[in-house]
C-alpha cells in the first residue's frame, strides 16, 4: 500500500519534471518575451570557439555560417504564400511602396531620345553603328525572388519610355522563391523576349556578374536578411558601372513615437498570428518582425552605403540626406550613385 503510493508520487514527479524541461527548452516568443530576449541575447555566447563570427537572426544570435541556412529555411517555407502574406501584413500598402520605388527610379531609356542626336551621321564604320541602336538598361534585382519589383520595372520601362531593350536579371539565394518567380514570368511577355532571367546567387559573392556591368542594382525587402551587409554593398559597388545606381527598399524605423507604438503592436502581435493562420508558419513571421527590429535606422544605413563608396542623393542644403521615408518610416528608400572616379 505504502510502497505503491511512493512509486505513484515518484512517477508524478518525473512527469512534472519532463513537462517543465520541455517548456524551458521551447522558447515562448510573445511580444514581451521577444523584447526581453532582445536585451538578453545581444552579446554572443562565449562558450563557442573564438574564430567563428556571430550575426543576428531576428533576436537570436547565431554563427555567421548558420544564418544563411536559417534564412533559407524561412523563405523556403513561406515561398508559396509569400505574395498573399505581403498583402495581409502590410494591408496592401507594399504595392504602393514598390510602385513608388520603381517610379522614383525611373528605369528605362527612351530609344528616340538617346539614339539620333548622340550618333553623328558622318561615322560609317561598323564599330560606330552600335551606339545608334540604343542599348537598354541592365538591371540586377537582388533578392528579387518572386519578381514583384522586376515586373514593375519592365512595365515601367515599356510603358513610360517605350523601351523594349531594358532587361532585368532576378537573383535570389533561394531556389523556391525563384521557382515562384519563374511561374509568374511564364505568363508574361518578358521572359520570351529574353528581357527577364532568373539566377540563383548569393548577394555577397556575385561571381557570375562581371565588374562594372550593371546600370541599376535594386534590392527590395532583402538586404536585411543578408549575413554581411557591408560585404554585399561592396559587391554591389563592384558590379555597378560608374554612374550606376544602387537602390534599396527596406523596412526601417518609424519616426513618430505614438505611431511607432501602434506599429510595434501590430507587427509583434498580429503578424505572427496571420503567419500561423495563412502560411501555417509562426516562427518564420516571428523572424520577419524581429529582423525588421534589428535592421539599422535610416541614417546609419545611409552612412553604410556612403562608406561603400556611393554618393548619396542629398537634397540641396540638407547634408546627410540620401533616403526617403515611406509611410512615416515603416519602409525607406535608400539610393547611391557610383561616382566616375573611384573614391575608395
Amino acid at each position: 500500500m505504502n510502497s505503491i503510493s511512493i512509486s505513484r508520487s515518484l512517477r508524478r514527479l518525473e512527469r512534472l519534471q519532463r513537462l517543465h524541461s520541455t517548456t524551458l527548452s521551447q522558447q515562448y516568443r510573445c511580444f514581451s518575451c521577444s523584447i526581453r530576449n532582445q536585451h538578453e541575447t545581444t552579446k554572443p555566447p562565449t562558450s563557442s570557439s573564438q574564430s567563428a563570427n556571430y550575426t543576428h537572426f531576428g533576436f537570436e544570435t547565431v554563427a555567421e555560417n548558420l544564418k544563411q541556412g536559417k534564412v533559407a529555411e524561412v523563405f523556403s517555407s513561406v515561398a508559396s504564400s509569400y505574395d498573399t502574406m505581403n498583402d495581409l501584413m502590410s494591408l496592401g500598402i507594399h504595392r504602393l511602396w514598390k510602385d513608388h520605388f520603381v517610379r522614383s527610379l525611373d528605369p528605362g531609356i527612351n530609344p528616340i531620345l538617346f539614339s539620333a542626336p548622340t550618333s553623328s551621321p558622318s561615322t560609317s564604320s561598323p564599330a560606330a553603328s552600335s551606339p545608334s541602336t540604343p542599348q537598354g538598361l541592365n538591371i540586377l534585382d537582388i533578392a528579387g525572388g518572386t519578381g514583384d519589383v522586376a515586373f514593375r520595372m519592365l512595365d515601367y520601362a515599356s510603358r513610360i519610355h517605350n523601351d523594349s531593350t531594358t532587361r532585368v536579371t532576378v537573383a535570389d539565394i533561394n531556389p523556391e522563391m525563384l521557382a515562384a518567380g519563374r511561374k509568374r514570368a511564364a505568363s508574361s511577355p518578358y521572359s520570351r523576349a529574353n528581357r527577364l532571367s532568373f539566377v540563383e546567387a548569393n548577394a555577397e559573392t556575385l561571381t557570375t556578374v562581371p565588374s562594372s556591368s550593371v546600370d541599376l542594382y535594386t534590392v527590395a525587402f532583402g538586404i536585411r536578411n543578408f549575413t554581411n551587409i557591408p560585404k554585399a554593398l561592396d559587391e554591389a559597388y563592384r558590379v555597378l558601372k560608374p554612374g550606376g545606381v544602387f537602390a534599396c527598399l527596406e523596412f526601417s524605423k518609424v519616426n513618430n513615437e505614438a505611431f511607432n507604438w501602434a506599429y510595434k503592436r501590430w507587427s509583434f502581435s498580429a503578424i505572427p498570428i496571420i503567419g500561423q493562420l495563412v502560411a501555417g508558419d509562426r516562427d518564420s513571421y516571428q523572424y520577419l518582425v524581429e529582423s525588421i527590429e534589428r535592421f539599422p535606422d535610416q541614417a546609419t544605413f545611409a552612412r553604410m552605403i556612403q562608406n561603400a563608396g556611393f554618393e548619396l542623393p542629398a537634397k540641396v542644403g540638407e547634408l546627410g540626406g540620401g533616403y526617403e521615408d515611406l509611410s512615416g518610416g515603416i519602409a525607406c528608400i535608400h539610393k547611391g550613385v557610383k561616382p566616375l572616379e573611384d573614391t575608395k
Binding site: 531620345l113 541599376l216 560608374p242 550606376g244 545606381v245 542623393p313 542629398a314 540641396v316
Partner: protein, 267 residues
C-alpha cells in the same frame, strides 16, 4: 579728412576689393565652414552641390533651350558628363533640382558681375552711385542672365514647377536669397526695420519682372528695363507716401497727448 578715411575703411571691410579677397580665401581653409542664414566672410557657406551633381547639372543647363526644365534635359546632361541616364537618381526632385541649380548659379554669378574683372566695383568705388541705382543695375544683370543662357523661353515651365505646393517654400527661399544677395552686393548696410520691407519689395519687383520678361519680344529686353524702372519709381513714391503718413500719424498723436496733458491727464 580723418573721417573720410574712416568711412572708406568701413566700406572696404564690408565690401572688400579683390586684393583683400585673396587673404579671405586663404583663411577659408582654416575656419570650419558652417551653414548660416547671413553673409559672412569668415564662415563661408559650404558649396551645396557635390562635384558629381555639379557636373551633371551644369551639363544639363545646355539642354534647357531645347528640352526645357525636364528630366529629359537631366538625362542628356548626365550622358554629356559621362554618366548614365539612370544616374539622374542623384536628384530626388528631378526637374525642380535643375531649376534650383539654375537659380543658385545665376544668383552667384552676380558676385562676379560686381567683384569680377570689369565688374561694377571699380565704377561704384567713386561713391557717386547710390544703393538704389546699384540694386537696379544688379536686377538688370540678373535678368540679362536669363536672356543670355536662352532659358527665358522655357521659363514659364519652371514657374509652373515652382508653383507646385511642395516646391513653393523652397522657391520663395531662393527668391529671398536673391533679394538679400542683391542688397548685400549693392552695399546696403542699413539695419533698421526697412531691412525686411526693402527685400520683400525687391523680391516682388523681381518676380514680376521675370514674368514680364517671358513675354518680352523687344531687342535686348528694352521693354523689361522700362517695366522694372517704372516699378522702382512706384516703389519710391509708395515709400514717400508711407513715410509722410507715418509723419502725420506721429505728429497727430503727439499733439493729442499734449492736449490731454494740458487738460491735466497724468500721462
Amino acid at each position: 579728412m580723418n573721417t573720410k578715411t574712416a568711412v572708406r575703411l568701413t566700406r572696404q571691410l564690408r565690401h572688400p576689393l579683390p586684393l583683400q579677397r585673396t587673404t579671405i580665401i586663404s583663411r577659408r581653409q582654416v575656419v570650419p565652414s558652417s551653414t548660416s542664414s547671413y553673409h559672412s566672410y569668415d564662415h563661408p557657406t559650404p558649396p551645396p552641390y557635390s562635384d558629381t551633381a555639379k557636373s551633371i547639372l551644369s551639363a544639363s543647363l545646355n539642354h534647357i533651350p531645347e528640352h526645357g526644365f525636364t528630366r529629359k534635359s537631366l538625362s542628356l546632361g548626365a550622358k554629356d558628363a559621362g554618366y548614365l541616364s539612370i544616374s539622374t537618381n542623384l536628384f530626388p526632385q528631378g526637374a525642380f533640382d535643375l531649376i534650383l541649380y539654375y537659380l543658385a548659379t545665376s544668383r552667384l554669378k552676380l558676385q562676379d558681375s560686381v567683384h569680377g574683372r570689369d565688374g561694377h566695383e571699380q565704377q561704384w568705388a567713386s561713391g557717386k552711385i547710390d544703393v538704389k541705382e546699384r540694386v537696379k543695375t544688379l536686377v538688370f544683370d540678373r535678368l540679362r542672365f536669363n536672356k543670355e543662357s536662352g532659358v527665358i523661353k522655357r521659363w514659364p515651365e519652371a514657374l509652373a514647377v515652382m508653383a507646385q505646393p511642395t516646391y513653393v517654400p523652397q522657391s520663395f527661399a531662393e527668391l529671398s536669397r536673391l533679394a538679400d544677395d542683391i542688397y548685400f552686393l549693392a552695399g546696403d548696410t542699413s539695419v533698421d526695420t526697412t531691412w525686411y520691407t526693402k527685400r520683400a519689395s525687391l523680391a516682388a519687383i523681381y518676380a514680376a519682372a521675370e514674368v514680364y520678361q517671358t513675354q518680352d519680344q523687344s531687342a535686348q529686353n528694352a521693354d523689361t528695363r522700362v517695366f522694372v524702372d517704372s516699378r522702382f519709381k512706384e516703389l519710391e513714391s509708395a515709400q514717400t507716401g508711407v513715410s509722410s503718413v507715418a509723419e502725420w500719424v506721429g505728429y497727430t498723436t503727439h499733439s493729442f497727448i499734449n492736449v490731454l496733458r494740458s487738460k491735466g491727464a497724468q500721462i
